[in-house]
């Protein structure tokens, strides 16, 4: 005959402790795998915007980045940017150049497409629609969240590539064409894949969708 042996109090505590440890380990492993876990996703339908026609929503892996465009500052640049967004040209295009906590750059429509990524030329392509003139404002400040058109070393070489600043960059004033500013979602941009050793990213993250709030 087998006698039932009752667990002692300390054995019960040990079992509870091991169970809790297993649960916490599981949650921890899950959470570090999910880089977006603590990133707030902004729903534009729940936000009031004064000028809805100039609001663009960039959807990335960790959520929405809501951008206000500045047509009064850079009329031609913003017009071009809006057209590319409306034609859905930025969808599935890489964030190919990312400097950790500093800047993200994407928009190479020629060599940065997810289904046709070309590492050899990535970062050198444009829209194929021609170059834009640089639109400089002597009063605009490139602060954290500013969206600007990227270009080569020379002015008047802007096309489709753009960058978003994650820090203030006073030296960018009067250098680049300002396009707009991030209103919500900088945390989403901080989660975009970067390389510690290089500003160019191998196997980069992509823009999932880029849309105007009002089409």
């Amino acid at each position: 005959m087998i006698k039932k042996i009752k667990q002692t109090k300390s054995e019960k505590v040990l079992i509870i402790f091991i169970s809790l440890l297993a649960i916490f380990s599981f949650i921890f492993v899950f959470s570090i795998k999910n880089k977006c876990l603590f990133v707030k996703n902004n729903d534009p339908s729940k936000i009031f915007f004064e000028n809805r026609n100039n609001i663009a929503i960039l959807n990335a892996e960790c959520g929405n980045v809501i951008i206000e465009l500045y047509p009064d500052i850079s009329p031609n640049g913003v017009k071009n940017f809006k057209e590319l967004i409306k034609e859905k040209k930025y969808d599935h295009v890489a964030f190919h150049r990312v400097i950790k906590n500093t800047l993200v750059q994407g928009g190479d429509l020629e060599f940065g497409r997810k289904n046709n990524l070309n590492y050899t030329y990535l970062g050198t392509g444009g829209s194929g629609l021609g170059l834009l003139n640089t639109e400089i404002s002597r009063t605009f400040n490139f602060t954290k969240g500013t969206v600007g058109f990227a270009r080569t070393n020379k002015k008047n070489t802007e096309d489709s590539q753009f960058f978003i600043l994650l820090v203030d960059a006073p030296l960018f004033n009067e250098e680049y064409t300002p396009v707009g500013k991030v209103l919500y979602g900088l945390d989403v941009l901080k989660k975009i894949k970067y390389d510690e050793k290089s500003e160019y990213v191998l196997r980069p993250d992509f823009i999932l969708k880029f849309r105007m709030l009002v089409d």
């Binding site: 500093t102 590492y119 030329y121 070393n153 250098e175 290089s198």
Partner: protein
């Protein structure tokens, strides 16, 4: 195609890990803003750590200067470069001044270096105060020269010299890098002037900007120098008719 891929991968591998927005702009790591309040729009940057850019024979390296040295020498550079107006600097496409110490270019010690593509000059602030001013003008002239090559025609410049004179093959090929004003000029203001036409022009320009009256005296008795001064002045006025030497 393979070659391009190798270049791209090499570029990815050698890109600086210390990138920031200044690196994004002028491709030099480990810099921070020292002074961005100049009325003419020039931005003064300082090295906060040693840096090296470029590879093998085309590398430029420099280290971070001590705060006290920087404070002592900066005023001289600023005073000299404040002579240029915002509009003039816009025309010649010059914007950034990097202040560092122990500058070397391709392994050779240097006191200044210009990178016209990046609108940047680098200055070794370890040298004496007078030379700092002159070097600033000298390097600025290289920016002008690069952006207005059609105006500062080297063939026309060479024709000013005596027929028997030949410049060296390159600016570092000469054995004498002397920057001091020499006694018997005979067409050249310093030994370094004799290295290349571009350096000769930059020397004339920098002396004009720092010792104008002395150079005017020299020009009155040296026909070649007089012609060189007129060449520089006439061409600078083509870029900006209101320029003041």
């Amino acid at each position: 195609m393979k070659f391009l891929k190798i270049i791209f991968i090499t570029f990815v591998l050698i890109s600086s890990a210390n990138a920031n927005t200044i690196f994004y702009l002028i491709k030099i790591p480990n810099l921070e803003i020292y002074d961005d309040t100049a009325q003419n729009g020039l931005k003064y940057l300082k090295a906060i750590k040693p840096f090296q850019v470029g590879i093998r024979d085309n590398n430029v390296s420099c280290s971070n200067p001590k705060k006290e040295l920087l404070e002592k020498k900066y005023r001289s550079i600023r005073q000299n470069l404040d002579k240029y107006s915002y509009d003039f600097l816009e025309k010649i496409n010059f914007k950034y001044v990097v202040l560092c110490k122990n500058l070397s270019v391709s392994g050779i010690e240097a006191i200044g270096f210009s990178n016209p593509k990046m609108k940047t000059i680098l200055i070794d602030i370890g040298i004496n105060t007078y030379d700092l001013g002159r070097i600033s003008h000298h390097e600025l002239f290289h920016i002008i020269n690069e952006n207005f090559k059609n105006i500062f025609n080297e063939i026309d410049w060479k024709d000013i010299n005596e027929d028997s004179f030949l410049y060296s093959e390159c600016s570092t090929c000469s054995e004498n890098f002397g920057l001091d004003l020499i006694e018997n000029q005979n067409g050249f203001l310093s030994e370094y002037s004799k290295s290349t036409p571009s350096e000769d022009m930059a020397e004339i320009f920098s002396f004009l900007m720092t010792r104008n009256s002395k150079i005017a005296t020299i020009a009155s008795s040296d026909k070649i120098i007089r012609k060189k001064i007129n060449f520089i002045k006439d061409n600078i006025y083509k870029i900006d008719k209101n320029f003041q030497f």
